[in-house]
């Protein structure tokens, strides 16, 4: 029965402390098929494939390869059993040749010496088999991204991979390169290799796959035969839950006569031609897929990354913050996506975290006014209800929700007028989410403005007054409240902007 399947994942569950990344996912991959795997950001696709590679050990569930059952994988077991993953980041060494990369870690040797010639011949054969034109002697750093990816694929095939898992393989490629990659995928299918193809771009899924599996919120939704599926149906399955989550009510507080932040054709940090306005008391949502350039935009506004062109206005005055310090002094704040890396100072106390942006303000001749420092910390601990035994507590000992509150407390202390939230509730449990939403409401009700980046559709729709969608570092649409619709946002987010194909990538010789 299971002989039809090369790879089977049964009831895979993965729990992290406080978060369930995968609730119950089942996946069956037939020999020689391309299975499209789709789901929203955070649905659990990455965790699932990491279970296959051995990078993540499932809490429960079974993995079966060619009928052989495993509780867990290790990277070595995965390789021995013919499972290979092509990640978005490649494992190539730029300073080595294409051939040397192909045999990285297991070079062909003649006695003690590496047999360069044999490797180059073998590499030429391997490339020819995939019908790709790469000179085995070319240094990988001189190859375009597309060819580098081909080397990864060739490496996997060279190591007898039977199952190839490709995570967003088209994301870094130009249109031409995507075409070449498709050809290789189709060729591999003919050779009997099974492929799991993960992509946000539905048209690719339709073009390549035999079947499509949808997962949502760490749960298996359904598997469809590709010719029988429709785009609308897939989007509904990916997004389509009822809006069960509650969002706290907000008083009308938008003052459209007051534009707090305005961007005019801003370029920089990879983003192109960004123009937007945020009013006083408004929550502007920023939607899009991971890597669409939302965080990058936030970094530019916050002065952490340089803008290369365009103008930024704050309350009508042109500004050009060159460091977070300057932005903070102008009243701009950023609550970053990666709380532990960029947001909270984990080894510092709550008190120090909250006072960090204002220490120079509350010091005389460099000496801190200890009373003000303490009073400020206590004030915001009270106001935003940070649950802790005391403000001397180290932030690393707090829960995710409370850490987020400490970061917010810091920006309230700094008297910020525009607060940028990058994934405000990532990794925060449901109860604490509601509190964060209430705090965001408090912010705008008190006349402040919020720019909220969110990959959670419900959150984006539930919290925003207006939504701007980005795709591939460009703005693809703006929606007013009455136009909010998950399907529309998804469509805008996956819109392939006309690339004009002038990316100037170097072709391999």
């Amino acid at each position: 029965m299971s002989e039809d399947y090369v790879l089977e994942l049964e009831h895979i569950r993965k729990e992290y402390p406080g978060v369930v990344a995968l609730k119950d996912v089942t996946l069956q991959l037939r020999r020689g098929e391309v299975l499209g795997l789709i789901g929203e950001n955070g649905a659990g696709k990455s965790t699932l494939i990491k279970c296959c590679s051995g990078a993540v050990i499932p809490t429960s569930g079974k993995i079966r390869i060619n009928g052989k059952e495993f509780d867990r994988m290790t990277p070595q077991l995965a390789a021995e059993n013919g499972i290979a993953i092509i990640y978005q980041e490649f494992n190539n060494v730029g300073e080595l040749s294409a051939a040397e990369n192909l045999f990285l870690g297991r070079p062909i040797r003649k006695g003690m010496v590496i047999d360069r010639k044999a490797m180059e011949e073998e590499a030429a054969k391997a490339f020819a088999q995939l019908q790709i034109k790469i000179d085995p002697r070319e240094l990988v750093k001189n190859l375009s991204v597309g060819y580098q990816q081909m080397i990864e694929i060739a490496k996997a095939i060279q190591q007898n991979a039977q199952v190839l898992i490709m995570d967003e393989p088209s994301a870094p490629l130009t249109t031409n390169e995507v075409e070449n990659m498709f050809k290789v995928v189709e060729l591999l299918r003919e050779k009997g290799v099974s492929i799991i193809y993960i992509s946000h771009r539905l048209e690719e899924i339709f073009r390549l796959s035999d079947r499509i599996e949808v997962i949502r919120d760490g749960e298996y939704v359904d598997t469809l035969i590709t010719p029988k599926a429709t785009v609308d149906q897939l989007i509904r399955m990916m997004v389509g839950r009822e809006m069960t989550q509650q969002f706290p009510p907000r008083k009308p507080c938008i003052d459209t006569s007051k534009v707090v932040l305005e961007l005019q054709n801003v370029y920089g940090n990879g983003d192109e031609d960004m123009s937007l306005k945020i009013h006083a008391g408004e929550v502007l949502g920023l939607g899009g897929l991971v890597g669409a350039g939302r965080t990058e935009l936030a970094e530019v506004i916050f002065g952490a990354k340089a803008k290369t062109a365009g103008k930024i206005f704050l309350n009508g005055q042109e500004i050009n913050p060159k460091s977070p310090r300057e932005a903070i002094d102008l009243g701009i704040a950023l609550v970053p996506e990666d709380r532990k890396r960029h947001g909270a100072l984990l080894t510092n106390s709550i008190k120090n975290n909250i006072n960090m942006p204002i220490y120079e303000r509350i010091s005389k001749a460099s000496v801190i006014d200890g009373k003000t420092e303490m009073a400020t910390a206590e004030k915001y601990r009270e106001e935003i209800q940070i649950k802790c035994p005391g403000v001397h507590q180290l932030v690393k000992n707090l829960s995710g929700g409370n850490q987020q509150k400490v970061i917010l407390g810091k920006w309230l202390a700094a008297d910020s007028q525009l607060i940028i939230f990058d994934e405000p509730t990532r990794g925060i449990d449901v109860g604490a989410k509601f509190e964060i939403y209430k705090l965001i409401n408090d912010l705008v009700e008190s006349g402040r403005s919020v720019l909220m980046i969110s990959s959670e559709m419900e959150e984006l729709i539930g919290m925003s007054d207006r939504i701007i969608v980005l795709a591939e570092h460009q703005m693809t649409g703006e929606l007013q409240k009455e136009e909010f619709n998950a399907d529309t946002i998804m469509t805008l987010a996956s819109a392939i902007v006309d690339q004009a194909d002038n990316s100037g990538d170097k072709e391999a010789s």
Binding site: R325, P336, H342, M356, I368
Partner: protein, 314 residues
């Protein structure tokens, strides 16, 4: 719960317990010589050397940096100061002040290489170590410079009652260091940067400026070691001193990964290394054996730091 508290009390004072045990061992082994008044004054004189320099190093290591150049800075400053007094006939006070200014400037240079250019601190200060040791030789020609103002030895030799002035200067420096760390916003910045440089920058700290300041302070405190000197200036006075200083600081509980450490711990670290050196000399332990022992002490101190970090991460 009670047990836990008792545990952490021992933990936070472990370094002092180590010091007391060390003193007892040396006192017994030396037949009491170690704890005589004159020997204690001796130790005080000796430790004032690296005690003063350890304050700047504490700041540097707090931000997960390192300053290998301080030994050379001490040498150079001694040589320059002597040169200005003896060969240029300069007033002693002017010479001392200028020398300390030079030390601070070298620190600023370290800061520039680390913060603005982005050279890893280990390499940047390794380079300046060699550079300024060389400069010291060039100025002195490798010969000791002697015969200067008789007042110069004042700091190194004089005492107030039984307490040598250089020890008092060290205590003052520790007080200043502790004040900077606990009462000024710079101290908060040091801990923040050491904990997480990126998050510190995103919290509004101008990390690069603080790095300049820290390496300048490291140079400054190394320059202040001049005040505990007596007699002639040789091109070898500071040689290898950075090793003892780094050992003191790490032994004192300042994490080489940055962000963790207190001045009081460093005081204990300085006393332990000072007593160890002195005790070994009293017991006629050869210089080479001393090197072996000190190297082991540094490795153990860093090892403990790294193990406790691993535990914390779990």
């Amino acid at each position: 719960m009670k047990n836990l508290k008792g545990n952490s009390l021992i933990k936070s004072n472990a370094i002092w317990i180590v010091f007391i045990i060390e003193v007892i061992i040396f006192a017994i082994a030396s037949g009491g010589t170690f704890v005589t008044g004159s020997n204690i004054v001796n130790i005080a004189r000796q430790v004032s050397y690296y005690g003063i320099a350890s304050i700047g190093m504490t700041f540097v290591i707090l931000i997960a940096g390192i300053d290998l150049s301080i030994g050379s800075i001490i040498t150079l400053v001694n040589v320059i100061c002597a040169f200005m007094m003896v060969n240029a006939g300069m007033n002693m006070w002017v010479a001392v002040l200028l020398s300390i200014a030079v030390a601070t400037l070298i620190g600023v240079l370290n800061g520039a290489m680390v913060a603005s250019v982005g050279i890893p601190a280990l390499i940047a200060t390794f380079a300046t170590q060699t550079i300024f040791e060389g400069v010291a030789y060039l100025i002195s020609g490798g010969r000791p410079i002697a015969g200067f103002d008789s007042n110069f030895g004042l700091f190194g030799r004089w005492s107030i009652g039984p307490i040598p002035i250089c020890a008092i200067i060290m205590i003052l420096c520790f007080a200043i260091g502790s004040f900077i760390l606990n009462k000024t916003y710079f101290g908060r910045y040091f801990y923040a940067i050491g904990g997480n440089e990126e998050a510190a920058e995103l919290s509004g700290i101008r990390v690069n400026r603080v790095k300049y300041l820290i390496y300048a302070l490291s140079g400054l405190f190394a320059g202040l070691v001049l005040l505990s000197r007596s007699g002639s200036a040789q091109s070898t006075v500071g040689k290898g001193l950075e090793f003892d200083v780094i050992t003191c600081v790490v032994l004192g509980g300042v994490s080489v990964n940055g962000g963790i450490g207190r001045m009081s711990g460093v005081v204990a670290g300085v006393l332990i290394i000072g007593s160890l050196t002195n005790g070994m000399i009293l017991m006629d332990v050869s210089e080479y054996t001393q090197m072996v022992v000190k190297g082991i002490v540094l490795a153990i101190a860093v090892g403990i730091d790294c193990i406790s970090k691993k535990r914390n991460a779990l």
